[in-house]
Symmetry: C2
Subunit: 342 residues, 2 copies
């Protein structure tokens, strides 16, 4: 495999000059540059990423961390929303030459070990974190290390943490308003896991929405899910078993909404007629569901691109403040899983 010294010899120049050509330094005389480029071509030379990052301290790679809850011993089903985000970041990175490292890291004691390795071993130039928890130890750690990172989800306590979030409270509020306009007053709520940071915002939105609609929250109609279809299904069955079941339910992601719809249909009830269902995320299959799901849409691609761009700017030590701490307004997509009260 050709090295920079081979190229230098072949072109009859010094390694310094070849390096300058590689880094587009304006110091090189045009004809010299041509000669070097010809040598690079002739030897099919490509610089070693490792050697380069050894001096620059940059890897040209950013890391995405997907957490694995590991509720059971078998791996959990992948969440399409997270995968879509990853897809979006990958698309944003395409053509920039920036690589994407993708890690699945189980939550739990000792999880920081892995982040340490990534950070102190300089395996990536920066990190994007999803599924932020309340007082997330990863945020504390990365801040301490002064390592470039961005978070999808709010970190209000920390003024110097860069994050981008969707205004979940607003989204839920819109959903409640929509249901209230259809005449619903008994509205069920399938919450995200309580340790998630977004759970509180969403709940505040629910409270606000219900207050504005003039409806009372019945705590018997509130269950906590874990983002899986199964938990949505179980949660819905629980709600339907109440003495005064709800006429509508808001699920905090689409997968749980799908599960809820199954539960409803399993009892011979019609979704959108007997019981209305609202989801959250608008994953690509939501609109193809039967009936198509009314859901609060998160603009995945936009978010992914913003996260990527923001992180890039932080790595370049010139944070794009206009992107940081942005609350993106989600949009309610009204489809057929919601209807007026029978």
């Amino acid at each position: 495999m050709a090295t920079i010294r081979d190229v230098a010899k072949y072109a009859g120049v010094s390694v310094g000059t070849v390096s300058n050509v590689l880094n587009h330094s304006p110091l090189v005389r045009p004809d010299t540059r041509e000669r070097v480029l010809a040598a690079i071509e002739a030897l099919n030379y490509h610089p070693s990423a490792a050697a380069r990052s050894l001096n620059t301290q940059l890897t040209e790679t950013i890391g995405l961390v997907r957490t694995e809850l590991r509720l059971s011993d078998k791996p959990s089903e992948p969440d399409p929303f997270v995968l879509d985000l990853i897809d979006g970041v990958s698309t944003a990175a395409m053509g920039t030459g920036i690589g994407l490292s993708f890690w699945t890291i189980p939550v739990g004691p000792g999880e920081l070990k892995l982040y340490q390795r990534l950070v102190r071993g300089r395996q990536v130039d920066g990190l994007i974190l999803f599924a932020i928890r309340e007082r997330d130890p990863r945020v504390t750690f990365l801040k301490e290390e002064n390592f470039p990172f961005v978070v999808f989800g709010r970190c209000n306590g920390d003024a110097d943490v860069h994050w981008i979030d969707v205004d979940g409270a607003y989204g839920i509020e819109q959903a409640v308003r929509h249901l209230a306009e259809l005449g619903h007053t008994r509205i069920g709520y399938v919450s995200p896991p309580s340790e998630q940071q977004l759970t509180h915002h969403r709940w505040a939105g629910f409270q606000r929405g219900m207050k504005m609609a003039g409806s009372a929250i019945d705590m018997n109609l509130v269950v906590e899910g874990d983002y899986t279809e199964r938990s949505g299904q179980l949660g819905m069955h629980y709600l339907l078993d109440q003495s005064h079941p709800p006429s509508a339910v808001i699920c905090n992601n689409d997968r749980m909404a799908f599960g809820a719809m199954r539960a409803i249909q399993a009892r011979g009830l019609a979704v959108g007629q007997d019981i209305s269902v609202v989801g959250f995320d608008d994953i690509s299959l939501a609109r193809y569901w039967h009936p198509p799901l009314t859901t609060i849409r998160q603009p995945t691609h936009k978010i992914a691109e913003m996260l990527f761009t923001l992180l890039q700017s932080i790595i370049a030590e010139n944070p794009a403040e206009e992107l940081s701490k942005q609350l993106i307004k989600p949009e309610l997509q009204i489809r057929n899983s919601t209807g007026s009260i029978p």
Copy 2:
């Protein structure tokens, strides 16, 4: 940031000894090892990935390449099946310390440039390729370079290419048999893009199945799709517009099957009663569809794990031949989108 020399000084040993401790060499006396480990702990030292890979020529990272067809100027929708595979590989890699680099590379002239950078720049130790095309230039290139890689999809021409594939012909054949048993003789077929390598195998399976069922193939009932819902929808409309429309249709992935179902339902026909639909992949949402989709299941997690393990063995220059060139039998999942002929 502490370096290996700092650790050596702190522990009162030489760098060589520290390196030996890091690499679990048995040469180090236990008490020396303890001293070094204590120093590592005290200084919170983590070895630099770049420096290490500069000598070992290994990055401890493997690359996954997802191709982007770029039919339009806006990015195409991510395919859940591919994302599930990526998820599976990531899960397989979890805990091994191996990183995953994820690249989206557009198909087209000049695509090899990017692979060259990955390979000759030693950005990854090996590659996993999906969506193999007939005479795929990437395979040729990687073989020439003698670079470790595995392919999801057959590469029969090349004895020394390691691949793992699903027996698509068998799968399609099972689907045809299932439909034939339900009394269907006019079976439509929505093909994968023709340049894909798997297209031929699947078609052979269709021919074989139809022959065994004693039915003739009507080429008016065959359309080519591009894996998107939309192409399934358009294809189905086309089939239904024929003078003798089919009573059943096999779609070569679930997304196209979903599209086909929409087209059928849009015409007021009932899927599974008026027209039967079979998909391919069994992505996680297929069984939640309405009606639940009969589909040929690819065991994503198993495939992903095999690909990962096989690639690891190739990188270690000790190929797990028993994993290579394996044809995995897919399994028909019979649900409600297929039924006997009316």
